[in-house]
Symmetry: C2
Subunit: 261 residues, 2 copies
């Protein structure tokens, strides 16, 4: 079945594309793009990006992909401008910006000890400030046409979890930024997607480092009882939500939300 969203000649930038959800989205999106589409993949790890590029071009040999190692915790308008000039030499029917990069933050620290402005500044640079800076440059580079901005968010944007203060605050702030952006720009296609508890390195890291026993046990139980969502499941759900376009710009959609085809 042909949908309204996929199958177009697409320019798509994905942050955090060297692993996990970012990689999975890059590959799945490439598969659904028309010939001549171009992906721009950002992350710190060049090795991880190389592997993602191999997977992308294997999934769709008619798509090109450029990779760029960049530290998003040090946002720079100049660097972003440069990356956005990477056009792959085409004209596109759809421009996508996928904000996937982010970090959990210190999970060994309780809210009552989150007292260091510098630690906050580093966390918010990587999880909010670079997002707003890159979005601004994206919209300047592509001032018209169909532009879709995806924000990978979390249940933590809505609900507090013990020992996950940075993550909860960062995701809540980031989601509100995209709601304001959508409200101010009715012509944009903005979606915050909460992928569910996905079986990635991030979950393993949280289990190893988190201070709170209750939250830790929640993740351990999910992992042991195979309740974690797979990369494939959450990626396909997002692909389907985008295909259906059954959301209003600025909405959030959670993996567990009922999906109207």
């Amino acid at each position: 079945m042909q949908d309204q969203f996929w199958g177009r000649r697409t320019w798509c930038l994905v942050t955090g594309a060297s692993q996990g959800i970012g990689r999975s989205l890059a590959v799945a999106f490439a598969q659904r793009c028309a010939a001549g589409s171009h992906l721009v993949l950002l992350a710190r790890s060049m090795d991880g990006l190389e592997q993602t590029r191999v997977l992308v071009t294997a999934a769709n040999p008619e798509v090109t992909a450029q990779i760029h190692s960049v530290d998003l915790s040090q946002p720079s308008a100049e660097v972003f401008k440069h990356l956005l000039r990477d056009e792959g030499g085409g004209e596109y029917e759809l421009h996508m910006l996928v904000h996937n990069a982010g970090s959990v933050g210190r999970t060994d620290q309780r809210a009552a000890d989150m007292d260091d402005p510098d630690e906050w500044g580093r966390y918010m640079s990587l999880n909010l400030y670079h997002v707003t800076c890159l979005t601004a440059e994206f919209l300047r580079r592509f001032p018209s046409g169909h532009r879709c901005v995806l924000n990978i968010t979390s249940l933590c944007a809505l609900q507090p979890f013990k020992s996950m203060g940075y993550y909860c605050v960062g995701k809540a702030a980031r989601e509100m930024y995209f709601r304001v952006l959508a409200k101010e720009n009715a012509e944009l296609n903005v979606l915050s997607y909460s992928p569910g508890p996905v079986d990635t390195d991030m979950i393993s890291e949280v289990i190893q480092t988190i201070g709170d026993k209750e939250t830790k046990q929640m993740f351990v139980t999910m992992k042991d009882s195979r309740q974690l969502v797979t990369l494939e499941q959450t990626t396909q759900k997002l692909v389907a939500v985008l295909a259906s376009q059954k959301y209003n710009s600025g909405d959030r959609f959670d993996y567990f939300d009922p999906h109207v085809e």
Copy 2:
């Protein structure tokens, strides 16, 4: 009627106490505190603080008040430690921390232009980082007993408004911080209070500077048709909500929410 919350010998710190809601809360709280209570009033403006102190001691001559000029956009654990040593020479039955200070942020800038990490850093220092730093020092200074932490929030923490991106993001982030704090510390009494659209200098400033015509008109209409809430109304509502204690720690309460006595 005697309630469970007021009437105790109270130590209470209020930020942004030189004007508006901060001043109004300081005076109203002082009226309801027992003899020997002590208020610590923070803001930048020494003149404004002096006037608040006069009003506080006039409202209740048995309460002492100390004022301190401090720039909360430059949070310093050392400064906060020093301020928290201002005990007024007593022993207290209740310790209160009232996070009222905050700023609207640039309302001439749309989300699509909020691209400056330094601007973000300044905004979040004043609206989030100092809040977490001061809370941490407060809880270290008063590690036990009845401790009440109030966060003055806004409808903007829940709903996006055009041209108010900084304020929406900052309030959403700040409210989530307090929800995590409450969840992690069941013994604390944490409340986010949304005072409604209060007729303060902040509203006048927004009307003068805001870029978006729709949001501007909303505030102008509220002001012209006297729909704005008065300081007295919103202060009395908060006093009553605290008296009733009909909330769970970490909850938000809005001026327009139905109040169960």
